[in-house]
């Protein structure tokens, strides 16, 4: 089973993972995950260059502190 993720707003560049199948590497909408991402955590839907806004709810919730590849986990290690 591919993973369930939810993109809240059409302009978001991250989705939130909403299941516990952390061994799976694809989401139902076809995004390839580069790593294991826990429930409630975010994945980049596209490349986010260093310094670019991380957008969720259609709002800049933070900035990428390094370039984030599509499918990478987005959290405090690469966003603040």
């Amino acid at each position: 089973m591919s993973r369930i993720s939810l993109t809240v707003h059409p302009s978001d560049n991250v989705s939130t993972l909403l299941d516990f199948q952390t061994d799976e590497r694809t989401t139902r909408d076809g995004l390839l995950l580069r790593e294991s991402i826990p429930f409630g955590h975010k994945v980049a839907r596209q490349e986010i260059a260093e310094g670019q806004a991380v957008i969720k709810y259609g709002v800049a919730i933070g900035k990428a502190t390094k370039t984030i590849q599509s499918g990478e986990h987005v959290h405090v290690h690469n966003c603040c």
């Binding site: 369930i4 939810l6 809240v8 909403l18 409630g40 709810y57 259609g58 709002v59 919730i61 987005v74």
Partner: protein, 402 residues
């Protein structure tokens, strides 16, 4: 900040949204036609309860009870707010007729003068001649009042007659990405149809200042909301609770929340893409259609009381884990996207959005379900909190009580 318009919900739902409501004086509309007993002060609560029970036993109809707390001993702004909210609740369009119980004759006479258009009787408990006699007088008054609303029927009303209170409680990862955004979708549609929407709980907006700047109709309105947030934050800091510095907490970070604004948006996304038209004080009514911020404490029964006093006829209550609260006067829709909560608490939940998590439902469909439930409720469908008789009224106080 993007300003993408709300996606259209199903065409049939959007065209000519209307409902069947009770027309009141001054063009107000009720979604309920309650016979209410309102006790203005705790001293009268038991008499009110006994009168309601006596009336219900004799007539087989239920009476909505609104109970008082302090009255004397309150100072200045607290005393004014107490009186204002009680008056607003009596005038609320979901009440068809009201019996108001005061302790003394002077308060009763002052209140009686205020209501001309609506069936309202005000009794002073001190004017009774014994407990038995006073309960009798009160239940007879309820009987007279009930006859005055007997023939009232629902008539077609436009959606623009509705004011909604937004609330969230028991928040978790599911409410941040399921029920709150679905409520946001509904809010955009409701506002497009001329409704008023109020969101409150000032503390929940700490960290959301940029969103408020981006989603207000003027810089002045944004600033007035941001000032309320700053005052609340300073008061919280007075207790040694430095909200901004410690958020998101280690627990939040473990749950996947990266920044304070992300945490705040989990609640604030209830407002959808709409813009704030004004900043209201506790209980203050909106002056026109659109989205309004109300400066209230974050405790749900208290913040909902402020929005209902301001005229909200329906409350939308988004949850993650279960929170029993609601409002007795403004039917409260409990909306939940957490599959475990839905499974355990189906007898307390009105809108089940758990298939958003399983991917079987889109957010648009979620918004549609909320809208359908709102229309059904406005037409008279009994909500779960109404079924259980759940709900409280709490008026905040900021000064010592004597």
């Amino acid at each position: 900040m993007s300003t993408i318009a709300a996606k259209p919900l199903s065409t049939a739902m959007r065209d000519g949204l209307s409902f069947m409501g009770f027309l009141r004086q001054g063009g107000l509309v009720g979604v309920r036609n309650h016979l209410a007993v309102i006790s203005t002060v705790a001293l009268c609560n038991r008499i009110a309860e006994l009168a309601a029970q006596r009336y219900e036993a004799g007539n087989g109809e239920s009476v909505l009870q609104i109970k008082g707390e302090f009255q004397r001993g309150l100072q200045l702004a607290d005393a004014q707010l107490q009186n204002q909210v009680i008056r607003q609740l009596i005038e609320h369009p979901n009440i068809g007729a009201a019996l108001v119980l005061c302790h003394d004759r002077r308060s009763a006479q002052a209140l009686q003068k205020l209501f001309s258009g609506k069936p309202v009787e005000v009794l002073a408990v001190m004017d009774g001649e014994g407990v038995e006699n006073t309960v009798d007088l009160a239940s007879l008054a309820l009987k007279r009042l009930s006859q005055q609303i007997l023939g009232q029927v629902r008539v077609p009303c436009p959606f623009s007659k509705l004011t909604f209170a937004l609330e969230c409680g028991g928040s978790d990862a599911s409410s941040a990405v399921c029920s709150n955004p679905a409520v946001g979708q509904f809010v955009d549609v409701a506002i497009a149809h001329g409704a008023r929407v109020i969101v409150s709980e000032t503390a929940e907006f700490i960290g959301g200042e940029e969103v408020i700047r981006a989603q207000s109709i003027s810089p002045e309105i944004a600033q007035s909301i941001i000032n309320c947030i700053a005052i609340t934050e300073a008061r919280m800091a007075g207790d040694g609770d430095h909200y901004r510095g410690v958020n998101p907490t280690a627990e939040n970070i473990e749950a996947g929340l990266t920044t304070l604004i992300e945490k705040t948006m989990g609640a604030v996304c209830k407002i959808g893409n709409s813009n704030f038209e004004g900043c209201l004080s506790f209980g203050q009514s909106p002056t026109g259609p659109g989205l309004y911020f109300m400066d209230t404490p974050f405790f749900s029964p208290c913040s909902i009381t402020g929005m209902v006093a301001a005229g909200a006829q329906i409350t939308l209550f988004s949850m993650g884990v279960f929170n029993p609260s609601g409002n007795p006067l403004a039917p409260t829709l409990k909306i939940c996207g957490n599959p475990q909560t839905v499974k355990n608490w189906s007898d307390g939940i009105d809108v089940n959005l758990s298939s958003l998590i399983t991917g079987e439902m889109s957010l648009d469909e979620g918004g549609n379900q909320v809208l359908q439930a709102v229309v059904d409720t406005a037409n008279g469908l009994v909500t779960k909190t109404e079924k259980w008789g759940e709900g409280q009224f709490i008026i905040p106080r900021s000064l010592p009580v004597f």
